[in-house]
Amino acid sequence: MTTLSIRSLKKVFNPGKANQVDALVDVDLTVEPGDFVSLIGPSGCGKSTLLRLLADLIQPTSGTVMMNGKSAHQARIDQDYGMAFQQAGLFDWRSVAENIELPLELKGWDKAKRRDRAHEMLELVKLREFADHRPWELSGGMQQRVAIARALASHPQVLLMDEPFGALDEMTREHMQAELLRICRAAQTTVVFVTHSIPEAVYLSSRVVVMSPRPGRITQIIDVGLGDARTDETRDDAAFYTKITEVREALRGIESTLAARGVDNR
């Protein structure tokens, strides 16, 4: 079954007012199980808005989002997806394990079952010995791994991520990307991933969705085709660079049209 099916999606903020913004228009996208789709584009292109529409955190002006054959709303109620943000957003007053247990607690799981699952998730993100630590005792990269473990705790089929590695330094970032691929493969998760970084999008994705602003829309979908087994060597691969160039040129095309229309996009 198709994991995500997005049809003629449109989102207008403040409709009919002076500050009306056409955040997204004519968005069509299909995501199959096991896909890793990155959304990339200049700020204001609506990539975070699209992610929030998929998560049913905001409502579309028109069009539909279906997740696993259900409405986005039903998918949220059923916790078909997990979510991770740029800030790990762990709760200070909970231990690492208790943070991972949070979604399970809200679903009414009993304590023993929650503990088991939290430890299973900690194993997956290689933080087993940090179960009883406090979040602020962990480095930024470790916190983000806990956030991913929390997002995957209820074993959702879909993971929605909004620039999760944006606040990390370059080395940690590359390490986290490799970790994310490993984790998602192990858990067979389908991912929609918002990013600003071209190499990150190419390294992680099976498809890169290039978006452009004013109004926010999809301009191009690039198949990456680097295969499933990606390692650090992939980053030195000629094919990797070719794809980076392809995405960069797609984004440049957007920049030049915007410049021609007199829009400052910095």
Partner: protein
């Protein structure tokens, strides 16, 4: 930890001694009849009647009061502290409950916040002295079954009246403190309002509640003592202050022994909140979020 605690105790005692020294130093250099400049008294009188010696105050603690069944002054003060402390605790508890309740309602409904907040601010500008007799009169009109309104209940209500305000403000600010992402996270879990309140908003509000509770603690002491005085509740520290103040011309140092009682009440409340703080904040980062 114990070392840090020891240092705290030492600093506290040192501060007390410093105040006593300052007091005695002023008595040496200050003019007995007060310093006058252009006909105004600008310096307080340093005479023994206005400013008794510190040791004189402590000596009075050992006096025997014949009218109180031959008890020592320190015994009288201790029992007054015990009496007032119960009223203070009741007022504090009531204030915290009401304050938190108002905070929750205001954070839930912006409209209520806009309507209620000016009233709450205005309520705190009403002089307690003016309000106390009113509360006594209103309470006296309450007849629910065999329930009768006692005077001490008015003191509790007025203690709560002063202490609910900082708690309401702290709760409101604290409940609204979680980031947009944290709220989106709860939303993505399809968490109910109640779940979000207890799993996110309340825990996030704790660092804001601690200073609010500190204010509420001293406010409830103030509220109870002042209303003991103005409503004539006997048995507590407030009444003792008035009683000793009336005898000040003959026994000036004795007034200060009753002030000690008020100070001890305040310290007890501060200690209570500090103990709660160190328990609750034990597992939290040291910096308080802005």
């Amino acid at each position: 930890m114990t070392r840090a605690r020891l240092r705290r105790v030492v600093m506290f005692v040192a501060a007390l001694v410093a105040v006593a020294c300052l007091w005695e130093f002023y008595k040496i250099i200050g003019p007995d009849q007060g310093g006058k400049a252009f006909g105004w008294t600008v310096l307080p009188r340093a005479g023994d009647r206005s400013m008794p010696h510190v040791w004189e105050m402590f000596a009075r603690l050992g006096d025997v009061e014949a009218s109180q069944g031959g008890r020592h002054i320190w015994q009288i003060i201790l029992s007054a502290i015990w009496y007032s402390l119960r009223l203070v605790l009741a007022g504090f508890a009531l204030g915290v409950i009401v304050g938190m309740g108002l905070g929750v309602v205001m954070s839930r409904l912006k409209l209520v916040e806009r309507g209620l907040m000016p009233l709450l601010v205005a309520s705190q500008t009403v002089p307690l002295i003016a309000l106390a007799p009113l509360v006594v009169a209103w309470g006296g009109k309450l007849h629910i079954g065999s329930f009768t309104w006692e005077k001490w209940m008015s003191a509790v209500v007025l203690g709560a009246f002063l202490s609910f305000f900082p708690v309401a403000i702290g709760t409101l600010k604290g409940l609204n403190s979680p980031s947009a992402e944290a709220l989106e996270l709860m939303q993505s879990y399809a968490a109910t309002w109640r779940q979000t309140l207890f799993k996110l908003r309340f825990p996030a509000a704790v660092p804001f509640l601690i200073p609010a509770l500190k204010l509420a603690g001293s406010a409830s002491v103030f509220g109870v003592l002042v209303s003991e005085i103005s409503t004539g509740v006997s048995g507590g520290v407030g009444r003792l202050i008035i009683k000793f103040a009336n005898e000040a011309s003959s026994k000036p140092a004795r007034v200060f022994t009753s002030v000690f009682g008020a100070v001890i009440l305040g310290l007890l409340m501060a200690g209570l909140v500090a103990a709660a703080e160190s328990r609750i904040m034990r597992n939290r980062p040291k910096e308080i979020p802005a």
